[in-house]
Structures are given as structure tokens and as C-alpha cells.
């Protein structure tokens, strides 16, 4: 959002104590108003994110209704780990990784609010590392699917007795699987970019108890990304 740099037309804002805050934009009366406005903007943006994924969830539900048998078979297949046991190992680990990253994010926001620069940087870096672990595991999981030919639409090339190519439903299931987890993965990637930007600014000493808006907003974004995964995980790996 647009709260990160002083406005080019800025007269230089002053808060109630008459102190100059370089991040105060000229069109806000107080820093508090600026913070509240930014936060409202972020929440609205998150609503649009949920609606974006919402369309895919609805589409998935309707196609599942259309091809119940095929979708259940595909579910069963997705659930297996590399040894063929019915336990979604990758998905479970990734869920834990993201949950822990939400916690490190909260700690990072808290550290920024309480003027603890080193701690802020440390927790933000931890969050980035966890996000990378998530994507790493996703990469392994995707590679496995690619190898098995469990791909969307025209690329579907699975060669075994179950999930036979040519039957409507399987390719659609995996199309939704890749679209939804892929779109989520893109959001994780964007999150890594935002977090890296925060680390850079935190090291520069931009954030303090008087100004921590970007950390707070990226935190909100990160929690939404985690929350979407919390819905994706049971939808794909647990339902049978």
C-alpha cells in the first residue's frame, strides 16, 4: 500500500507532539489516521483475495458434484505419500511449516511495535526461511506429479490402471489442484518478496513504535496466505 514513503508533495507531517515523522503523508491529519486508513485498505484488499480464491473453491465444488467418483479416486491418489501409504506427508509438513511461520510473523510485528530492531529482523528472516521450506516441499511434490503425468488438461498423461487418461474428471481435478495450490504458491512467492523488503527496511532502522505500518500490513497478508492453505489442505488431502 502507499504508506511506505513520504509523499512527494509532502509538507512534512507533524504528529501531536509537534515531532516530525518522515513517514507522515500530507493528506492525513495524524499518523493514527494514516495507520487506520492503511489497515482498512489492506483488509479490503484481503477481501478481494478471498473472493479470488472463492471463485476457484466454488468451481472445484461444482466440478466435484459433476464427477464425484473421479474426484474421490483422485483424492485417494493425492493422499498417498511416496511409498503409497495413505498419509499426506508433504501436505502435513507444509501445514505445520506455515503455521509456525504465522507465529514468527506475529513475533516480528510485535518486535517492530516494541522498537526491537534486531529481533524484528531475526523473526522476519525466519519467516522467509519457513516460506522457502514450504516452496521447496511444494517443488518436490509437484515434481512427483509431473513425473506421474498427473497434469492439467491436455498435459494429462497418467499411465496406470487407476485415473485412466481420457475419462472426464481426472484432468479437471488436477487442473484445479495446480491452479489453487499454484495461485497460493504465487502468493507465498510474493510474500517472500514483501518480507525481504521489510528485512531491508528493518535493518535500515525504518520501523519503530511510531511507525510500523508496513510490517503490520504484510503480517495481515501473510496470515491470509496461511489461512487459505488451511482451507486448501483438507480440501485436497483430507476429504475422502
Amino acid at each position: 500500500m502507499s504508506t511506505t514513503l513520504p509523499d512527494i508533495h509532502s509538507h512534512g507531517g507533524h504528529d501531536e507532539h509537534g515531532e516530525h515523522n518522515p513517514y507522515h503523508q500530507h493528506h492525513f491529519a495524524t499518523m493514527e489516521q494514516q495507520f487506520d486508513t492503511s489497515k482498512l485498505g489492506m483488509w479490503l484488499f484481503l477481501v478481494t483475495e478471498i473472493l479470488l480464491f472463492g471463485g476457484l473453491f466454488v468451481g472445484f465444488g461444482l466440478m466435484q458434484h459433476r464427477y464425484p467418483q473421479q474426484f474421490i479416486e483422485a483424492h485417494e491418489h493425492l493422499k498417498q505419500d511416496i511409498f503409497g501409504r495413505p498419509f499426506p506427508l508433504y501436505g502435513t509438513i507444509n501445514t505445520l511449516v506455515l503455521l509456525i511461520s504465522s507465529w514468527t510473523m506475529v513475533m516480528g510485528v510485535n518486535a517492530a511495535q516494541t522498537d526491537q530492531k534486531k529481533k524484528t529482523v531475526r523473526y522476519l528472516v525466519l519467516t522467509i526461511l519457513l516460506a522457502c521450506v514450504f516452496l521447496g516441499i511444494k517443488y518436490v511434490e509437484y515434481s512427483h506429479k509431473f513425473h506421474d503425468g498427473l497434469l492439467p488438461g491436455i498435459f494429462y498423461a497418467h499411465q496406470s490402471e487407476d485415473l485412466i487418461k481420457g475419462t472426464h474428471g481426472y484432468a479437471t481435478f488436477f487442473a484445479f489442484y495446480f491452479m489453487m495450490t499454484g495461485l497460493h504458491g504465487i502468493h507465498v512467492l510474493v510474500g517472500i518478496g514483501l518480507l525481504s523488503w521489510l528485512v531491508m527496511r528493518a535493518r535500515r532502522g525504518d520501523f519503530s513504535s511510531a511507525y510500523y505500518t508496513p510490517v503490520d500490513l504484510v503480517g495481515l497478508y501473510w496470515h491470509i496466505v496461511d489461512m487459505i492453505w488451511i482451507y486448501l489442505f483438507p480440501l485436497y488431502y483430507l476429504i475422502s
Partner: protein, 549 residues
């Protein structure tokens, strides 16, 4: 001229400030990188008007093609394929590049912060980003026309859109980008209205224009993401054949229609609510009378926004949805008539016993009332199952939505442009020629679209290239009407542009308006107001005690 004031701020005939938002900084960069909502509004205005011109040219070509059953334009044969492209590009350009972004991006961007007594919108750089996304979307959309062609109609219905060879993927990608532009604009306005109102301005002290645009912004934020994901699915269906919309590979074409109209019906209200918002300003100002039923109009705006989300099925009465669904959607559709009626009657009551002056913006406002009444009432024919089955996909539908989209929204847009032009540019235009343009507009519009109601009810299907000989007289009538519309728009452009050639002469408040934008200079200074305005009176206060001479 009378001037009415609502707050204690002095307006009188104070000297015009030397520096304003137009001349404070100069050069291309000062515009390209501006975060000033007024400059972004001007850039949006120029951009969307160019799109209007482009869409208008395609409209004239559509009408010219249909002038005779031989389909010749100046001796050149127009093939059916070319005709399909004409109406697709007309629809797509008008809907996605003009009507949806025009009033929010241009007029609202300019006046909404002024009306709230704010220095800018909540997120100025997001505002600029929205404009650049519009540019990117516009370039992509125009490229898709130049590289190849799109012949699906602006609705991109499957299965045709997943099988036709045109550049549909690029066009849908363009609409996806434009959707984000629209979301950013809406998000910005919601945050601005919530957080940047002047001290003392409560929710029910806001001008009704702001209420209308707030409702519009709600729809922009809540409906557009669904269109975004629908278009992504459509693109993936075309490229990867994922099997969701195309029945040959296991998809459901009607599902596309559900997804599409879940956005695009609310989108229709993204188009009409801004028009209503403008009319709510024009009517009291030129009737010199407090708006009648302020709260009723405010609530009607928000309820239109809410109802817009639950009526999408009325676009699919004959598309194979269940009988129960059609009955429910038909009943829900009638709900739309209630807030619409509330608004129209309140506007009429505002005019009743008012001191009406027929300046150019008011002529457009009165045209709006008549055209919207026709557009709205014919909507009831289409919401009624028994008549809709007969009228679906005929020219009756074409005429109906043009009466609403064009006869109402575009009329209000032009009226609003005349109304705020002195504020935006600091110049008065030729009142006489403005009035003439309004009269010609009204005549031309009805000449074009009234015959289409008759055509439709006699069975002329929309989007058809061929027609029976018996329909030709009405088609000729309609085509001649389109030339009259062109003449009126050409006149408006000339009237407004001519005003730019003379030095700034507009007073701060040429119409005696009571909202805050009239209390700053024309054109406004970069920071909008010399001092933070403080609101003391209710909106639309035209009581005599507040009038100074």
C-alpha cells in the same frame, strides 16, 4: 448570480490564486508521476474519452452495416465476420474501457476528495497505479484488435469463446488487468470515504454523489475478483483445455454464464450507480432546493449495490437453469425496481416547486430522468419470465440496456462533465451551444433506440448480421439516429474544447452549489483548500438565510 454557502468558509469574489493544480508544476513528468487525484482524474478523463471515441466509431460502423440488407458501407462489402468483430469491439471497449472506469476514474477521482473536504484520496499512489493498469489493459485490448480479432461479443460466452480462433486470450487478459484497475479505484474510494471526511462530516452529511460512489466502490471491490478468476479459468480452458467450461472435454458452458454474470450483473450497477450519483447533485443544484428524501436516496444506493449480487440468474432464463431458479431470480429481479423507483420519485419531488433553471447540466439531468424511466420500466418486461422468453436475445434487450447504460449513465456523465467542467478547468463554456447539444442528444438517442424496441418485439434477434426486408425502415431510422448522437457528441466536444482557448473566467461557484467542491477556487489549488474545511450545516441547504449575493 446567487451563491449559496453551507459552511462558514468565505467564498465571495476573492482573487483567483496564481498557482493551481494545473500550473503548479509543468512538464510531462509532473503529470506522468503525479499522485494528485485531480490530475489523475484529468488523465482518466482523457483516456476514457478516447475509448469512448473508439467504441463510438465501432457503434457507427455497426449501425452503418445494418443500414441496408446488402451490408455495404460506402460501397465496401462488410462480411458477417467483420460485423461480428464490430459489435464485439463496440461492446468490449464501451463496457470495459469506457463506462466502468469513466465516472469513477475521471469525475469521481476529481470531485470526491473535494466533496469530503480531503486533500487527496486515501492511497494516492495506488490511484496512479490504477490509472496505469487501465493504460496497460487498454493497450492489450487494442492490440488484440490489431493482431487478430475478437468476435465473441463482450460476454465471451463459452463454448464459442473457447473454440473460436480469434485473440480471445489476449482480450480476456486485458479485461483481467482492467478489473484490477477497477478494484484499486474502488478500494481507494471506500477507504477515503471511511477515513478522510472533513471534521464534522458524519455519514449523513456526505453529498449523495459520495453515497452513490461508495456503493459503486463496494461492488467494484466485491464483484470484480470473481470476474478475474473467471477470466483466468477461461484463458486456461483455451490454452490447456482443463475441462471446466467446454462440454466436449467434460466442462459445463452454463457454469461460465453463472460465473460471468455473478460479476457482470453487479458490473451493470457499477455503470448505473455513478450516473445516479451525478443526478443526485444536478437536480438539487439546478432546482435550488434541498434534496427530497436524502436518507431514502442514500439507502437506495446501498440497497441497489446489495441487490445487484442476487439477480444474476435473470441473464440465463433460457440458458437451461432449473425452473425453480428462474422463478426465484425473476422475483428477486423485481426488487431492483424498488430502490430505483425510490430514487426517481425523490428526484422528481426535489424538482417539484423548485426554482428550476435549465442550464446545460440540468437539461442532461432531465433527459436522464426520462431515459432512465424508459430503460428501467422495460427492464421489468425482461425480468418477467413470460415476456422474457419471447424477448430474450432480441433488439428489445439491446434497446433496454442502451437506455440504461447510455441513455442514463452516459447522459449523466456528460451532464456531470458540463457541471464540473468550470471547476476542473477554470473555464465557462458556451451555455447556448451546450444546451443545443443536450437537446440534440435527447432527440438522437431516442431516434436510435426507440425503433429497436419495436424491432425486438417483432422478433429481430440481436447480434444478427442478416435481417428480413420488413425490418429495414426501422433499421434506417435507428442508423440515422446514431448520426444525430454523433453530431451531439461532436458538438459537446467542440463546446468544451473551445472554452479552453480563452483565459480562466469561471467563478468559484458558478451554479450556486452547496457541496464543498464549490468552496475552493476554480481550478482548485494543489492541496484543494486553503484551510481545512469544517462542515457545519446539513448537505443541500438552500434555505434563504444561507444565500449571499
Amino acid at each position: 448570480m446567487e451563491r449559496a454557502v453551507t459552511s462558514g468558509a468565505r467564498i465571495g469574489d476573492r482573487p483567483r490564486p496564481k498557482k493551481n493544480y494545473l500550473n503548479e508544476t509543468r512538464g510531462f513528468k509532473s503529470w506522468a508521476l503525479t499522485v494528485d487525484h485531480k490530475r489523475i482524474g484529468i488523465m482518466y478523463l482523457v483516456g476514457t474519452l478516447c475509448a469512448f471515441l473508439l467504441g463510438g466509431i465501432f457503434a457507427l460502423l455497426v449501425r452503418l452495416t445494418l443500414l441496408t440488407p446488402a451490408h455495404k458501407i460506402f460501397g465496401l462489402q462488410v462480411t458477417a465476420e467483420t460485423y461480428n468483430r464490430f459489435f464485439t469491439l463496440h461492446g468490449a471497449v464501451m463496457v470495459f474501457l469506457f463506462i466502468i472506469p469513466s465516472i469513477p476514474g475521471s469525475l469521481t477521482n476529481f470531485v470526491l476528495p473535494l466533496m469530503l473536504g480531503a486533500k487527496d484520496v486515501a492511497f494516492p499512489r495506488l490511484n496512479l497505479a490504477s490509472f496505469y493498469l487501465w493504460i496497460v489493459g487498454a493497450v492489450m485490448a487494442v492490440s488484440s484488435m490489431i493482431i487478430g480479432a475478437v468476435d465473441t461479443g463482450w460476454t465471451f460466452y463459452t463454448p464459442y469463446s473457447t473454440t473460436t480462433s480469434g485473440t480471445v486470450t489476449l482480450m480476456t487478459a486485458a479485461v483481467f488487468v482492467l478489473g484490477f484497475s477497477s478494484i484499486f479505484t474502488g478500494l481507494n474510494f471506500i477507504a477515503t470515504v471511511h477515513k478522510l471526511r472533513a471534521p464534522g462530516m458524519g455519514w449523513f452529511d456526505m453529498p449523495l454523489f459520495v453515497w452513490g460512489m461508495y456503493s459503486t466502490a463496494l461492488i467494484q471491490v466485491l464483484a470484480t475478483p470473481v470476474l478475474g478468476i473467471t477470466l483466468v479459468l477461461l484463458m486456461l480452458e483455451r490454452v490447456f483445455q482443463i475441462g471446466i467450461f467446454d462440454s466436449r472435454i467434460g466442462g459445463d458452458p452454463v457454469l461460465f454464464q453463472h460465473f460471468f454474470w455473478f460479476y457482470s450483473h453487479p458490473a451493470v450497477y457499477i455503470m448505473i450507480l455513478p450516473g445516479m450519483a451525478i443526478i443526485s447533485e444536478l437536480i438539487p443544484t439546478f432546482s435550488r432546493k434541498t434534496i427530497f428524501g436524502y436518507r431514502a436516496i442514500a439507502y437506495a444506493s446501498v440497497s441497489l449495490a446489495l441487490v445487484s449480487f442476487i439477480v444474476w440468474g435473470h441473464h440465463m432464463f433460457v440458458a437451461g437453469q432449473s425452473q425453480l431458479a428462474t422463478v426465484v431470480f425473476s422475483a428477486l429481479t423485481f426488487l431492483v425496481a424498488i430502490p430505483s423507483g425510490v430514487k426517481v420519485f425523490n428526484w422528481l419531488c426535489t424538482m417539484y416547486q423548485g426554482n428550476i433553471s435549465l442550464e446545460t447540466p440540468m437539461l442532461y439531468a432531465i433527459s436522464f430522468l426520462m431515459l432512465f424511466a424508459i430503460g428501467g420500466l422495460t427492464g421489468i418486461f425482461l425480468g418477467t419470465l413470460s415476456t422474457d422468453v419471447h424477448l430474450t436475445d432480441t433488439y428489445f434487450v439491446v434497446a433496454h440496456f442502451h437506455y440504461v447504460m447510455m441513455g442514463s449513465t452516459v447522459t449523466a456523465f456528460i451532464g456531470g462533465l458540463y457541471y464540473w467542467w468550470p471547476k476542473m478547468t477554470g473555464r465557462m463554456y458556451s451555455e447556448k451551444w451546450g444546451q443545443v447539444s443536450a437537446v440534440i442528444w435527447f432527440i438522437g438517442f431516442n431516434a436510435t433506440f426507440l425503433p429497436q424496441f419495436i424491432l425486438g418485439s417483432r422478433g429481430m434477434p440481436r447480434r444478427y448480421y442478416n435481417y428480413l426486408d420488413q425490418f429495414q425502415p426501422l433499421h434506417v431510422f435507428s442508423t440515422v439516429g446514431s448520426w444525430i448522437i454523433g453530431l451531439s457528441l461532436f458538438m459537446s466536444a467542440a463546446v468544451l474544447l473551445a472554452s479552453l482557448r480563452k483565459p480562466a473566467d469561471a467563478p468559484d461557484n458558478p451554479w450556486g452549489g452547496t457541496t464543498l467542491e464549490w468552496q475552493t477556487s476554480s481550478p482548485p489549488i494543489t492541496h484543494n483548500f486553503e484551510d481545512q474545511p469544517v462542515l457545519e450545516n446539513e448537505p443541500y441547504d438552500y434555505r434563504p438565510k444561507a444565500v449571499t449575493h
